[in-house]
């Protein structure tokens, strides 16, 4: 992991309120694994004078890494993401990464990608590192499902929305369960809202299938120093592990849901 001055090469609003930033970060691009993340400073380097954005960095999954560049994909929720959304090509971002463990991609097993809402962000990179994955992407509605076209050539794409505005009108666990019934050697790589991940964890238990979930927690340091991002795990030497360092990807079986 390194602290990088990354130049914004391109920023685009892919759906209303959802932005994609392509930035030059050769070290991170070269070293990042799917499921790892970066911590981006969202103020003008002048935390002291508080000119712009929050004090603490914000974590974002590596959405894509290619050549010297990486991409992040994010939704504007608060002042950190709002600050980032206003960046322009040529601006310099202060980024730390790559951070966390990333997915443990199991070759030779059926890769099932499962992304809900903004959870799809780190999964593009994951999908690219698996062979012929089955890709389940779900969201509340079409507007909340950005970048599906980027996934189209990577594997078989199954879309679901809560309101039926795109794909099947259901949660993604419904079509996903149909697949699990027939593919016990599948591995699920998942990221999304907590209830969705819990549901996948249950499916994993039911069908004896490995489920890797990428979790979220508020972060300060992002590198395992501050103990600010605990996740409760079962049967371990300590009650908590750290999302930023031991995660963000955990085996669903280990998590106290």
């Amino acid at each position: 992991m390194k602290q990088i001055k990354a130049e914004v090469i391109n920023i685009s609003e892919v759906k209303p309120g959802i932005f994609n930033i392509l930035m030059k970060a050769p070290y991170i691009a070269k070293n990042a694994k799917a499921g790892q993340f970066v911590e981006v400073l969202c103020n003008n380097g002048a935390a002291k004078n508080c000119t712009g954005g929050p004090l603490l960095r914000r974590p974002f999954g590596v959405h894509n890494a290619k050549g010297e560049n990486i991409e992040i994909l994010f939704k504007v929720l608060g002042k950190g993401t709002e600050y980032l959304s206003q960046k322009k090509a040529g601006d310099i971002l202060d980024v730390i990464g790559p951070l966390g463990n990333g997915f443990d991609i199991k070759e030779g097993r059926l890769a099932v990608i499962a992304g809900g809402g903004m959870g799809i962000a780190p999964l593009l990179f994951a999908a690219k590192q698996t062979k012929n994955p089955l890709i389940f992407l779900g969201a509340r509605n079409e507007a909340e499902l950005p970048c599906k076209e980027k996934f189209e050539n990577l594997g078989k794409l199954i879309l679901t929305t809560d309101d039926g505005s795109l794909g099947e009108k259901c949660f993604l666990n419904i079509p996903l369960e149909r697949v699990l019934k027939e593919n016990k050697n599948a591995v699920i790589y998942a990221c999304g809202p907590h209830p969705m991940l819990k549901c996948l964890a249950d499916l994993g238990v039911k069908y004896g299938v490995e489920v890797q979930v990428s979790l979220e927690e508020k972060m300060a340091c992002g590198i395992g120093v501050c103990q600010g991002c605990p996740v409760e795990l079962k049967n371990k030497d300590t009650k908590y592990k750290l999302v930023c360092k031991d995660g963000p990807v955990f085996n669903a079986e280990d998590v106290v849901w």
Binding site: K2, Q227, K239
Partner: protein
């Protein structure tokens, strides 16, 4: 080099890490050269392993952060066996930070750490706002008598320099600082975080799992400077100042208000190179202003 001396121990410069914001230096050693720091003050260690508080443990505040870690750590023996050895590799001072539930805990911790030659000094944390103590509701360092008892107990059990780390939330900080001095403490370290909280109006829940937490970062600097200034005027032992240091200038302001040394906390999360940059910046300032040592600036406020 701007050397300083606390309790007979020399530090190569006045910049230390603030306990709990630097672990024991391993992670940040990928960003900074630990050899450039005056000291690494380790995360507070307790006798036994502590799980810490339930999440969320972190929240953003205007020019500040809120935390309620709850002294998560693996306990004294783990610290000695697994954490301390790493710091042996560096030419900097290692300061252990300790906290207990009562005077006996502090005694045991001090006695055991006194045997560890890797430990150069001990910071006595009597002020973590995220831990509830059995016998009294407040923090140890909010009470003069308790502060004196704890510092005296630690004093009796170690001949290494000891710093008393205290809470800002008292009516008169000088009373507490003097208790540390009377008990034979070698320095007063302040401020620990300010007790605080945040709520989410939508969910009507506190932002932290522990409801309340401690405030740190730039927002608390003006409060910290005032308390450092008060303590500086009240005691003869050195003051170690902290609270919201985000650059060398902030650190120099603390020295101007009477601090002999400073600690960098929350700033590490914003800028992982901050400790080293602060040390370099202080050195540059002293050179440019022809100051021969920290005493040339310490408390030299024109009033």
């Amino acid at each position: 080099m701007v050397k300083i001396n606390i309790g007979g121990l020399e530090f190569k410069n006045p910049v230390m890490t603030a306990s709990g914001t630097f672990a024991s230096g391993k992670e940040y050693s990928e960003f900074v050269d630990l050899n450039k720091l005056g000291a690494v003050v380790c995360k507070t260690v307790t006798l036994n392993q502590r799980d810490g508080n339930k999440p969320p443990r972190i929240a953003d505040m205007p020019s500040a952060m809120l935390n309620s870690i709850g002294l998560e750590n693996k306990g004294l023996e783990y610290f000695i066996e697994n954490t301390l050895p790493f710091l042996k590799n560096f030419d900097t001072r290692t300061v252990a930070s300790i906290a207990g539930n009562n005077v006996e805990d502090y005694t045991t911790l001090a006695k055991r750490l006194n045997e560890c030659k890797e430990v150069h000094a001990i910071e006595v944390n009597m002020s973590c706002p995220n831990v509830v103590h059995g016998q009294n509701k407040g923090l140890f360092s909010q009470d003069e008598k308790t502060t004196f008892e704890i510092m005296s107990a630690v004093r009796k059990n170690t001949n290494k320099p000891i710093f008393g780390k205290i809470s800002p939330m008292v009516a008169d900080i000088t009373v507490i600082a003097k208790a540390i001095e009377r008990a034979g403490g070698d320095a007063v370290a302040l401020i620990n975080t300010i007790p605080a909280m945040g709520v989410d109006l939508k969910t009507r829940r506190p932002l932290l799992g522990n409801i309340t937490g401690g405030l740190s970062g730039p927002a608390v600097k003006p409060v910290a400077l005032k308390l450092v200034w008060d303590v500086y005027k009240a005691v003869k032992i050195p003051v170690i100042g902290m609270g919201g240091i985000m650059c060398a200038q902030d650190a120099l302001e603390f020295i101007l208000c009477g601090a002999t040394a400073v600690q960098v906390g929350t700033g590490n999360f914003v800028n992982p190179k901050l400790t080293e940059e602060t040390a370099l910046g202080i050195e540059k300032y002293f050179k440019e202003n022809n100051l021969s040592g920290v005493d040339d600036l310490k408390g030299k406020l024109n009033i």
